[in-house]
Symmetry: C2
Subunit: 149 residues, 2 copies
């Protein structure tokens, strides 16, 4: 492991939010600054519902990983959702993502995480390959229903 990861805290908010804005723009997600601050803020403040790690030097990070947490009867306790991963375009293709996801997973196993899930767009073969390389396996996808409150 040559790329350090650091759990982001409130003091890192500006750097985290700047990277998130770049990711959301690249991924064409509609979130604005207020939305990002509302969601990331509690995680940077230590909410038990998720965590954000900065990749590389925390003063000049190369990217970030955002994991949210859940609780599962089938898995017998704490689970994680890989919610966002972003690596600056200039340092892509060097295996940093794979390395960093492995490090996050090792950290979370120590915190007794039972499983990590990820939702992927069904047609994104590149992302499926990336996740397979880091230990994810496709599972028979059940029907997902949502009640938008």
């Amino acid at each position: 492991m040559s790329t350090a990861i650091t759990l982001a805290a409130a003091a890192d908010a500006e750097r985290v939010l700047a990277l998130m804005a770049r990711y959301h723009e690249e991924a064409q997600l509609p979130h604005d600054d207020t939305h990002r601050a509302t969601v990331a803020g509690p995680l940077l403040d230590g909410s038990p519902l998720g965590a954000i790690w900065l990749i590389g030097p925390s003063r000049a990070p190369l990217g970030y990983v955002m994991v949210t947490f859940g609780w599962s009867m089938p898995h017998g306790g704490l689970i994680g959702w890989l919610e966002e991963v972003f690596i600056r375009p200039s340092v892509r293709g060097r295996g940093i993502g794979t390395e960093v996801l492995h490090a996050v997973t090792v950290n979370l196993q120590r915190a007794d995480l039972r499983a990590m899930h990820v939702f992927l767009p069904s047609d994104d073969a590149g992302l499926v390959r990336f996740c397979t390389r880091t230990g994810f396996r496709a599972v028979r996808t059940p029907t997902l229903m949502t009640d938008p409150l």
Copy 2:
């Protein structure tokens, strides 16, 4: 609303676990008493990762609802997962489930829940109908991948 719901706490553990055992037996889920206590215990003790409600008189409950919580960038904050619903066979078919899910949803909206999700076995049309009646809509299901740690 004629059927009361009560947030279950540590003092309700025995009643909750007995109902869960009946549900898991009926649904042919492999969980044993230890597994159930491990998962339900923290929620009864006030974990922010989920909640269990008893249906009807809390001394002689008719069933329970278990919701786990999550945190979501797309939804902008707190989300819920409808994890388990059980109603005693002798009082089924009276609309209690629909009524109770509505009450749980109203409660959680007050706690600023943004959306409730549920995973259903794709072939269970009865469950899909039940969830549709209570406000859930099928969404285009993405690919789900899991890293079993």
